[in-house]
């Protein structure tokens, strides 16, 4: 329960910042920001999309980058599959839409704790602690953001890169991830200087993981 509360607070805060950034940095309307949070429903990918749009990345390229960024959900989905065995197709299809870093972490921990599938153990974290606060906070953020005339003076313009960096830190669990992140950043800056910021982001995201793969994984003790 306490873990769920922490996720609610995080979703509220981060959703608010997302709405605020979408409005102040990329001029999203409340409908556009809310559509992103309800339909796309992927925090990091939504934040990244703001950066892509500001950098002038085309929609097809945004689609490819979003696919790559969200491809980690394959791992979550595969890990949840055994727990959902025997559940109906509509239930599994709906569960897939609500699969996020947070709902995965909370539900898998719960299933492992009790040793079986528990519907409340999935739908509660997916809807109550993530979907609802994320969408409510997005709407609040984008509405408040419309009232801010000069976001740079208030320091709001740094939220986006700081959020990207912070999210990257959250995904670094070993030296391969660290190498991929460092390489992504360096390649991103270098290609930005040589070609454009758009090309830099794409190159960093696509080539960075290859550098990570070249690093030997830590041996299990």
């Amino acid at each position: 329960m306490l873990d769920g509360l922490g996720i609610v607070v995080g979703a509220l805060g981060f959703g608010f910042v997302y709405g605020l950034t979408a409005r102040t940095r990329a001029d999203f309307s409340p409908i556009e920001a809310s559509a992103m949070s309800l339909v796309a429903f992927g925090g990091a990918a939504q934040f990244a999309a703001i950066g892509y749009l500001v950098a002038g990345v085309s929609w097809p390229a945004i689609a490819v980058l979003t696919f790559l960024l969200n491809a980690r959900h394959v791992l979550y989905s595969a890990a949840l599959a055994p727990w959902f065995r025997g559940r109906s197709l509509p239930e599994r299809a709906a569960a897939a839409h609500l699969l996020t870093d947070e709902s995965f972490a909370l539900s898998v921990a719960h299933f492992r704790r009790i040793g079986r599938f528990d519907p409340v153990g999935y739908w509660y974290p997916a809807i109550v602690t993530t979907l609802i606060p994320w969408n409510v906070a997005t709407l609040l953020g984008v509405t408040v953001g419309a009232a801010i005339v000069e976001p740079r003076t208030l320091g709001i313009d740094v939220i986006f890169p700081a959020a990207m960096g912070g999210l990257a830190v959250g995904l670094i669990t070993g030296r391969r991830e660290l190498a991929a992140a460092m390489a992504g950043a360096l390649i991103g800056v270098a290609v930005s200087l040589a070609v454009s910021a758009t090309a830099g982001v794409i190159a960093g995201g696509v080539v960075g993981p290859l550098v990570g793969l070249a690093v030997p994984p830590r041996e299990e003790s």
Partner: protein, 110 residues
Amino acid sequence: MSTDLVPLAFVMWAVTYPSRAVGLLAPALERLPRRALEYLRLVGPAILAALAAVNTVIATGEDGRASIALGVSWIAVVVSIGLVYWRRSLLLGLVAAVAIAAAGRAVGLD
């Protein structure tokens, strides 16, 4: 009120949903080659770090040319990342970043 980006939300859903559903709806497909899974796992940190770095240190001039720009934003983002790593709190990092950037600009740094 603009709705131009609403279709983009559906595009993003269309390319995200298969990743979320593949294991749950087609368990037989859960076994991608190990190398492919490793690559996909590393995409997140790489692309997020690239976005952070490019949006922090690259400034694009009116002529479209990119250059390095190290200002108070850079300090704010680096401190923020350090705080997130140390305290494991993204919100704390974001609050610190905004406070540093706002304070720095208030005293004339940019």
